[in-house]
Every structure is written in structure tokens, then in C-alpha cells.
């Protein structure tokens, strides 16, 4: 009898909790007094949880995403999901180093060490993002994932990781598709639980457009993307503001990421009368556009411009990239950043190899600070409430290396400014190119 009573109590408790948690759903009381709930997948949850509720009701009360309990002596697990192979390896490796330094500097949170439990490869494409994210969430102890490197991998990873209640925070995803267009419109691939410390490309596109129109004085531009969300997002973020300024997009075309022969799109660009080609793509396809452009009739003097995806040591040292313009995030100049770079060099024997190491460092530290704030001790166990973690990340203001970080409702945390740089004969490596700043645009300059 007592067993049955507990069971009934559990069912009632579960009902109450689900109703409380599911404020968005509509509930109605029918004539015979039975409460039915419509909305979301509540009905199925009800069936699944009713039997186990007796055990979990105490923990469920904390938040609908559940909690992660860390026993005394166990580490707090963090995962990295970055592009660490192939031509974009420098983009991911740079950030993995940022995360490693952040973990080493932080030491421990509430007496627990921090462990980088996964160092997955996002392959810079959606398959890699999907696979890596799935592998990571299979471990129920992982609290947060720092990644991805590429927006293309970020789209599936954001879905998989946030659906599992965990946090995904990226230091280099920049596509507007993952958050919003910065004008208050939520993007299709935005999920709660996704944050980023990198800029939104709505800003980078507008900055590049303003530079081309006002500083270079060019009005006829061709854009080339490779179909990836990052490159597509950035070309459209460029095209809109550029046409608003009064310029003309004479050609908006695409190549594939493994294409070597660029003569067809380049001939089309020449026929359309392009004065500048904006191609925010990756290596290796990015190698071949400046290589082949001068050999196309009509493009001998065309101006070439890339973006932060090409702003790496392996690219700026190519002879054909000389003279190219790049847009990218501002390099911090604070003493704290200088110290970070010194530590980076001591640890890895070379200066930073890409632009997003500090962003990844900040992302990791934001997560650590948020965990520190919301984690509670329950006996010997450290309890991290995942919903509270999201709320904390969404509302906190964090002073990082890259500036003051404060997330908007769609997960954009950066207050970025964008540099326009040029790779001239004098610039021998990525550090020099990142130092050769022609113009800096803040969000206010661009009216965003």
C-alpha cells in the first residue's frame, strides 16, 4: 500500500513540476477535473518520467535542464570541439591553446580540478560538427563545450549540444545564422545555450563594405563564397550594406571548397566588370583565386579582399596573397593580453598563429566564472544546475582580454571592433599583417 502511495505521489509531483516548468504550454482543466497539458512534448515526458520521478524530483526542482553532480575529487569536465586538422588547423589549434592556457591559469573551481576531457576535431564542416558534438554529449559529465572553430560545424553542433542541456560557447563562429542579424531578428539556427565571444559577421560584412566603398572608393564588386554558412553569411553581410552605401554587386557566385580551377568564376567576374573581388573563404580554395586572377583578361589590376578565415600564417606567406586586404577582429593591446601572448609563446614556442586565441581564452574563462557563481555544494558533491548556468552566462558581464563581454538574448557576447589590414611586401608573417591596420570600425561606426 505504501509503495502505491509513493508512486501516486510521484506522478502528481511530476505533473506539477512539468506544469511549472512548461509555462509556455497551454493548460486547461476539463469538466471532470483532470488537468491536461498541451504544448511541447510534455505528454510523452509525462509517461517517461512518472515512474522515475520519485528519485529525481528533488534534483528536477532546480531546473528543467537537470544538473551535473561532481563527486569529491572528480574533475569538472570541459570539452573542446575545434578544427585541428587540414588547412584550417591553425584556426582550431590556436584556440585549443587558448583553452589550455585558461585551464592552467584557473587551476581549480571550488576545490575541483578542470579537465579538458575531449579535444574533438570539427573538421570545419557540418559532418565533423555533428560527429564531434554527439561524441561529447555521450559523456553526461561534460558541462560545457568550447567550440566550434567553423560556423559550418557550429550549426549541427549547436543543435546537438544545446538539446542535451549543455553549453556551447565559441571563440570563432561568426556567421549571423547562429545567433541573430543584430537587428533583433533571431536566426534559423539559433538555440538557447549557444554563446560566442567572437564578433557577428553582420559587423564584419558591414565594416568590409564600408572600407571598400569609402576608403578604396570602389563601387563594382564581385563576391565569391563556398556555400559554407560562414562564407555565405559573410558575403551576404557584405552585399547588403555595400548596396545601401550605393555600390553595385556585379556578381555573387560560389565555388566549392576543394575547387582548384577558378577560371570560370573569375572570367564571369571579369565580364561583369568587377573592380574588387571579396572572397571570405578558406584554404585551399582561397589559394587559387589570387593565383589565377591576374592571368584573366580584364582582372590584371583587380583588388582582392579576404576575411578572417584566410588570416592565418599559412596564407599570408603565400606569394600570391601579397597586396590583398583582409578584415578581421581587432587585436587587443592591453597589458593583460601582452601577458597572455608571453605565456602562449613560452608554452608553445611560437607567437599566436591565428586571430581567435584570446576569444577562446575568454570563452573558457566565462564558463569557469559562471560555474563558480552558480555551483552549489550538496554534502561532498558539487552540483551544477544547467539552467542556472545558462541564465548566468546570459546575464553576466565579464571583463576579458577581448573587451567587455556581455551576451545579448541570442548569444552574441562580444562588443567587437573590426580591423581592415593589408598584406604588403613588408609583412612577412601573420603577426605583421595583423599589425598593419588601415582602419578600425566599431559597432557604432557602422550603425549596428
Amino acid at each position: 500500500m505504501t509503495k502505491r502511495r509513493i508512486h501516486m505521489l510521484a506522478v502528481l509531483g511530476a505533473l506539477a513540476l512539468i506544469l511549472a516548468a512548461c509555462g509556455g504550454g497551454t493548460s486547461a482543466t476539463t469538466a471532470d477535473g483532470v488537468t491536461t497539458t498541451v504544448g511541447g512534448d510534455v505528454t510523452t515526458t509525462l509517461a517517461d518520467t512518472s515512474t522515475t520521478m520519485a528519485d529525481t524530483s528533488t534534483t528536477m526542482a532546480a531546473g528543467e535542464l537537470g544538473v551535473i553532480e561532481i563527486a569529491a575529487g572528480d574533475p569538472i569536465k570541459i570539452a573542446s570541439l575545434q578544427a585541428i586538422s587540414g588547412d584550417v588547423a591553425s584556426l582550431g589549434l590556436d584556440q585549443v591553446r587558448g583553452i589550455e592556457i585558461a585551464i592552467a591559469n584557473k587551476g581549480e573551481i571550488a576545490g575541483h580540478s578542470i579537465e579538458l576531457a575531449f579535444n574533438e576535431d570539427d573538421l570545419c564542416n557540418s559532418e565533423g560538427g555533428q560527429t564531434g558534438a554527439t561524441r561529447i554529449i555521450a559523456d553526461p559529465q561534460v558541462v560545457a563545450v568550447i567550440g566550434t572553430s567553423c560556423s559550418g560545424a557550429g550549426v549541427p553542433a549547436s543543435n546537438v549540444i544545446t538539446s542535451a542541456g549543455r553549453i556551447l560557447i565559441s571563440g570563432s563562429n561568426t556567421s549571423p545564422v547562429l545567433t541573430s542579424d543584430l537587428a533583433g531578428n533571431e536566426s534559423a539556427e539559433h538555440h538557447d545555450g549557444y554563446y560566442r565571444t567572437a564578433h557577428n559577421d553582420a559587423i564584419q560584412g558591414a565594416a568590409a563594405a564600408k572600407f571598400v566603398f569609402e576608403e578604396l572608393g570602389l563601387t563594382q564588386v564581385a563576391t565569391i563564397n563556398d556555400g559554407d554558412p560562414y562564407t555565405q553569411g559573410l558575403t551576404s553581410a557584405f552585399e547588403g550594406p555595400f548596396e545601401e552605401l550605393g555600390g553595385t554587386i556585379v556578381l555573387s557566385t560560389a565555388v566549392t571548397a576543394d575547387q582548384t580551377d577558378m577560371t570560370t568564376p573569375l572570367t564571369e567576374a571579369s565580364a561583369a566588370g568587377a573592380e574588387l573581388i571579396f572572397f571570405p573563404i578558406f584554404q585551399p580554395a582561397g589559394d587559387f583565386i589570387p593565383e589565377q586572377a591576374p592571368s584573366i583578361a580584364g582582372l590584371e589590376d583587380v583588388v582582392l579582399m579576404g576575411a578572417d578565415g584566410l588570416l592565418s600564417d599559412t596564407y599570408v606567406t603565400l606569394p600570391q596573397s601579397e597586396g590583398m586586404y583582409f578584415s578581421g577582429p581587432t587585436t587587443p593591446t592591453t597589458p593583460a593580453y601582452e601577458d597572455f601572448v608571453t605565456q602562449y609563446e613560452e608554452e608553445y614556442g611560437e607567437p599566436p598563429i591565428q586571430s581567435f586565441h584570446a576569444h577562446a581564452f575568454d570563452a573558457a574563462n566565462m564558463v569557469f566564472t559562471a560555474i563558480e557563481t552558480i555551483a552549489q555544494m550538496s554534502g561532498d558533491t558539487l552540483v551544477i544546475d544547467l539552467q542556472a548556468l545558462r541564465d548566468e552566462l546570459g546575464s553576466m558581464t565579464y571583463e576579458g582580454l577581448t573587451g567587455t563581454l556581455s551576451c545579448d538574448e541570442f548569444g552574441d557576447c562580444a562588443a567587437p571592433s573590426i580591423n581592415i589590414m593589408q598584406n604588403t611586401e613588408a609583412e612577412a608573417d601573420i603577426e605583421a599583417v595583423r599589425g598593419n591596420v588601415l582602419v578600425t570600425y566599431t559597432r557604432e561606426d557602422l550603425g549596428l
Binding site: 555573387s252 575547387q259 587559387f288
Partner: protein, 362 residues
């Protein structure tokens, strides 16, 4: 036809020929032609590209196609004698290109590179050819000879395995990063070809390909070894009975095919000077397509198929797809290439020049 109906035996035969499948195929052919012609008419009449630009695209396509043709020779010659597709051939090409990169890189540091570009190029070509030919022979010895009498599917699967093995061996040996081929000053300029300025490297590719192909043709048709190659591809057992060393001939076929891939690799490095361990995959698949396009097993077919594929890929997107206002059509050049293969196979199921197989095997 009316006469045929009066003869009792004939109508049945002609009636059986016009099946729904035949009607469907003809419909498909006419529809395909209509789609291509309408698209081409639209984009040519729009005057978007000038005559000179079409001609440039044609020359660019021919030069890329020449490289495909050189690689395709290896596929088609091996198919000719052993009746299986050596999918590791794309990797033989990549290894040739890698060797060309290392030799060129070494030479670029010497004064020979500037003082005598022709000799330097010759050294690069010889190194690439030797490496690729040796690798192809090694593959034959290790991976294919033990399977000579196995069902045809077995060496095919083996070749896919060999392909991955070589890719990751190279990745392990030289690292996964992209190698930047050193530039050769005389090749960076342009040459005036029939009124349009064409990059010298593209012209060099076409010229070298033509020379190599003529040499290969003479080798196969005029020498004793060439004759024994043709005999082995005709009928291995009879050839053996006539005193031809079949094993030796097959090794020669692999070596010659590999050398062609080596030349292709060095030429690829001149035109597309960035390469990594994965660079052989796409050109390999394209060359295989070219071999099928021209008629697998047919050496002239491979040459023709390679060049046509390069041209179709270069001109096709601008010519046909642009006519339908398809956005970002240049991204679809691979689609155009494979669609062209399907088109040719609809009209001529054995390829442009037809499959050259001995009678008893077909």
C-alpha cells in the same frame, strides 16, 4: 517499313525493337539536347561574355583537360589489360606531384632554376615520372599481382584500400599541410595565342601533353613492347602461348601509366601550385570519368575524353547553366562534368570512341 509489314517474319522483329524503353531513351535524348541548346542560346544571346572570353575559357579548359587526359591514360591502359579500375591511380598522380614539389623546391634554391628553367623543368618531370612509375609498379607487385586470378571485384576493392594507404602514408611522411609549389619566372607571364593572352603555364601544359601523347601513341603502335601490350590486352593466354612474357608486359603497362600520371602531377603543380596529400582524389575521379567518357580501355578515347571533360567543365557552367539564371552556377562545375558523362553515355553507351575490348570478352 511498309514493305517489311508484308513479310510475315519482319514485323515482329521491328515491333520488338520499338519498346517503351527505346521511346523513353529517345525522349530523354531529345529533352537533354533541348535543355542544352536552349541554355546555350540564352547565355550566348545575352552577350554576357565576349568572344575572347569564351575562347579563353576554351583554352583554360583544354589545359586542365590535358592533365585529366594524361591521368586517364593510366586508368584506361590498366583496364585494357587487366579489366579492373585501379582507383589508386589518383594517388600515383598525387605522389608524382609531391615529388615534383620537392625537387622543384630544391632546385628553386639553386641558380639553375633561374639560369636554365628548361633544364630544371626537365629534371622535375623526370623525377616525377620515375617516382610515379615506380609507385605504380610497386602497387602492381604488392597489391594486384597476388590477386591476378581472383574475381574482378577483388582487385577493385584492393585498389580503393591502396588509395587510402598511399594518402595517409604521404600525410604521415610529409605532413597534412598544403605545399606551395615554387614559381618559375618564365612561366608567370602570358603568351599571345591567336589574339588572346594566355598564361604561359597553361600553354606549357598543352604543349607537353601533346608531345607526351604522341610519344605514347608511337610507343604503343610502333614498338615491340607496344605490340606485346596490345596482344596481352587482346588475349592474355594466347599472348603467353606466342611467347610474350605477360607479367613483364603488365608491369610495363603500370610503369607507362604511372609515368603519364607523374607528368600530369608535375604539370598540375605548375598550374595549381598548392597541393596536399588529398590533391589526387578529385583529379583522379575526374580522370576516371574522362576514361569512361572516351571509352574505357581505349587510349585515344582517354585522350579525347580528358580534353572534352576539361572543356565541358570550364565552359559548361557559363554556357548552359547561366542561360537558366541559376545562382552561383560556377559552383556546379563538377555537376556539369558528371552530367556530361551521363549525356554521352545516353547517346553512346560505350563512350565517345567506344570500348575497345577483344571479342571473346565482350
Amino acid at each position: 517499313m511498309s514493305e517489311a509489314i508484308s513479310v510475315p517474319a519482319r514485323p515482329i522483329r521491328s515491333a520488338s525493337r520499338v519498346t517503351p524503353v527505346t521511346i523513353f531513351l529517345w525522349g530523354l535524348r531529345i529533352a537533354a539536347l533541348a535543355v542544352i541548346l536552349y541554355g546555350s542560346y540564352q547565355s550566348i544571346s545575352s552577350g554576357r561574355l565576349s568572344g575572347a572570353q569564351w575562347r579563353d575559357l576554351l583554352i583554360f579548359g583544354t589545359s586542365t583537360g590535358s592533365v585529366f587526359a594524361l591521368i586517364a591514360l593510366g586508368y584506361t591502359m590498366v583496364y585494357g589489360v587487366l579489366r579492373f579500375i585501379n582507383f589508386a591511380h589518383g594517388e600515383v598522380f598525387m605522389v608524382g606531384a609531391m615529388m615534383a614539389f620537392y625537387v622543384a623546391n630544391g632546385l628553386a634554391a639553386t641558380s639553375l632554376w633561374i639560369a636554365s628553367p628548361f633544364v630544371s623543368l626537365l629534371i622535375v618531370f623526370i623525377a616525377a615520372m620515375t617516382t610515379s612509375a615506380s609507385l605504380a609498379v610497386l602497387l602492381e607487385r604488392i597489391a594486384y599481382r597476388p590477386l591476378r586470378n581472383a574475381p574482378r571485384l577483388i582487385p577493385l576493392i584492393t585498389s580503393i584500400g591502396a588509395s587510402f594507404t598511399i594518402q595517409y602514408l604521404v600525410s604521415g611522411l610529409v605532413g597534412p599541410s598544403t605545399k606551395d609549389f615554387p614559381r618559375m619566372e618564365p612561366l608567370r607571364g602570358t603568351i599571345n595565342v591567336a589574339g588572346s593572352l594566355i598564361p604561359t603555364s597553361r600553354v606549357v601544359v598543352i604543349v607537353v601533353t601533346v608531345i607526351v601523347m604522341i610519344a605514347l601513341y608511337l610507343f604503343v603502335e610502333r614498338t615491340r613492347t607496344g605490340k606485346s601490350m596490345r596482344a596481352v590486352s587482346e588475349d592474355q593466354e594466347t599472348a603467353a602461348l606466342m611467347g610474350i612474357d605477360v607479367n613483364r608486359t603488365i608491369v610495363t603497362v603500370f610503369a607507362v601509366g604511372g609515368a603519364m600520371a607523374g607528368v600530369a602531377g608535375a604539370l598540375w603543380g605548375l598550374v595549381f601550385p598548392s597541393l596536399n596529400y588529398f590533391s589526387g582524389f578529385l583529379p583522379g575521379i575526374k580522370a576516371f570519368t574522362a576514361a569512361v567518357l572516351g571509352g574505357i580501355g581505349n587510349i585515344l578515347g582517354a585522350m579525347l575524353g580528358g580534353v572534352s571533360l576539361g572543356v565541358v567543365e570550364s565552359i559548361g557552367p557559363s554556357l548552359v547553366l547561366a542561360g537558366y539564371d541559376i545562382p552561383a552556377f560556377s559552383q556546379l562545375k563538377d555537376v556539369v562534368a558528371y552530367a556530361a558523362l551521363v549525356m554521352v553515355l545516353i547517346f553512346r553507351p560505350t563512350g565517345i570512341l567506344g570500348e575497345r575490348l577483344s571479342r571473346d570478352r565482350t
